[in-house]
């Protein structure tokens, strides 16, 4: 099957970006080097093409009810122009995907952003449940006609504000507004996936090159840097840190209990109300030399007590870090464990996954 192409694909190739298959999309891993791009976002500003993320619009009289039944957070909390993070769970409480839900400035239309390769599955899920519950909604999967970029870093707000027709610096965290940037009509949200301040910008694919070129001079960053940045910030990657088949986890196990509202009747709610997880998501810092990777065992006194789901050498902290699931008995920060890396055991310490915050 051929890969889906970003509307910015030609621009990436023109920059000699190294491309990879990410969720069925051909996307750039890096333009220069991952550490260079990572540092640009931590120190200044970087721009990412995230057009592989899905865009599904939901409107109609029963839109709020459908969103509330299919996401774990309480959509009724949102005012026009607000966004919230949520999980999408199965009947057994296992996370199928995670998403950001926006109530657009019209106060009537929801936009939610499934992860790469999940848009068709989520569109079908929304349609099936709307039909099953006889809800009156309009569901539009506009992933193919919509592009998305993220501008992130300590100088992101200043840089985007220079180009926007309205003052986007006044936009609150997890808020969204309509504006034009470089003459392109777009939705601008104060959200991101790097641990830095910044914006995610949604617009029509026809305008992709015009919008991207507005940010000339801003370091283009690939998904390699996006991965190291999100891991330092302790943010989970759908499909890797949780996956309905290969890593089935509930929001509570994944440390995402804060996006579960048991006051709403969502798919998976009853299972989660009774959930008593045996394991939970933690951060791991190595106390010896090596690079932790997904699949490495976590040991205590020689016994396996968990497994890493992501790991890297943190470019900002210059520390080998990972995240993964461990038994509750060793989940307390400060617990000494060992990580098995290709037959060697390296001493390590359990920490909160918010590596960046903890070291600031």
């Amino acid at each position: 099957m051929s890969l889906r192409e970003s509307p910015l694909g030609a621009i990436h190739r023109g920059h000699d970006a190294k491309m990879t298959d990410f969720g069925g999309w051909a996307m750039p891993v890096k333009y220069t080097s991952i550490t260079h791009e990572h540092a640009a976002v931590r120190d200044s500003v970087g721009i990412f093409d995230v057009s592989h993320m899905g865009e599904v619009f939901v409107s109609g009289p029963d839109a709020t009810e459908l969103m509330n039944r299919l996401t774990t957070n309480d959509v009724a909390d949102l005012s026009a122009g607000d966004a919230q993070y949520a999980c999408i769970t199965r009947e057994d409480g296992v996370i199928v995907d995670d998403t950001v839900v926006y109530l657009l400035p019209d106060g009537e239309t929801y936009l939610f952003i499934p992860n790469a390769g999940h848009d068709e599955e989520m569109e079908a899920r929304w349609r099936d449940h709307a039909a099953q519950w006889n809800l009156s909604v309009t569901i539009e999967n506009r992933t193919a006609s919509t592009a998305m970029v993220a501008v992130q870093g300590p100088h992101a707000v200043e840089r985007v504000n220079e180009e926007a027709s309205t003052d986007v610096s006044a936009l609150g965290r997890f808020s969204v507004c309509e504006t034009t940037i470089g003459g392109v009509e777009c939705l601008v949200a104060r959200t991101g996936y790097t641990g830095e301040d910044g914006f995610e910008i949604v617009f029509d694919v026809e305008d992709a090159a015009a919008l991207w070129n507005t940010f000339e001079g801003v370091q283009p960053c690939g998904l390699g840097a996006r991965d190291t940045l999100r891991l330092e910030a302790g943010l989970l990657l759908s499909g890797q840190d949780f996956h309905p088949e290969t890593e089935p986890r509930t929001p509570f196990e994944a440390g995402l209990g804060f996006v579960v509202s048991l006051d709403t009747e969502f798919v998976g709610r009853d299972a989660l109300a009774d959930a008593e997880p045996d394991q939970s998501m933690v951060g791991i810092e190595l106390d010896g030399r090596g690079v932790p990777r997904a699949g490495c065992s976590v040991l205590e006194a020689g016994e396996s007590v968990g497994t890493l789901t992501s790991g890297t050498m943190s470019p900002t902290l210059d520390l080998p870090i990972g995240i993964g699931y461990v038994d509750e008995a060793v989940a307390e920060p400060g617990t000494a464990v060992e990580i098995e890396i290709r037959g060697r055991t390296i001493p390590a310490t359990v920490e909160t996954p918010r590596f960046l915050q903890r070291h600031q």
Partner: protein, 127 residues
């Protein structure tokens, strides 16, 4: 993109280079290999005195995204290890044919060098 492939070295299909002088081989990885790996953050090398057999694993090089085994292009005894890579693994990116070398080995059998690739053959491999 064109990569530097020095004329005075021999190459393994697994992207190690070999420089031979007075029966001692210096071994590293090529510019092509370091570029494929990306930012190198960790190098694990053998100890001095260790016996290596041609084509056996002698170490590991890790970039931010990938792990790659290192294979001995020749048999012999490890004479020296580039300890600078412990604290500065990025030397492999910055200077793969110079400060980014890995080990030197006293050759057990110089005939093994004949099986390595010429610069021209390696260039064809990476084209």
């Amino acid at each position: 993109m064109m990569f530097d492939i020095p004329d005075d070295l021999k190459y393994a299909a697994s992207h190690e280079w070999v420089a031979v002088e007075n029966g001692t081989a210096t071994i590293g990885i090529t510019e092509f290999a370091q570029d494929e790996l990306g930012d190198i953050v960790f190098v694990e090398l053998p100890s001095v005195g260790e016996e290596l057999t041609k084509d056996s694993e002698f170490g590991v090089v890790e970039s931010i995204k990938a792990v790659s085994d290192l294979y001995a292009p020749v048999s012999g005894t490890v004479e020296a290890v580039n300890d600078d890579l412990t604290n500065a693994p990025e030397l492999v990116n910055d200077d793969p044919y110079g400060d980014g070398w890995f080990i030197t080995v006293s050759l057990a059998d110089t005939r093994e060098l004949d099986a390595l690739r010429s610069p021209e053959a390696y260039e064809e491999q990476t084209a």
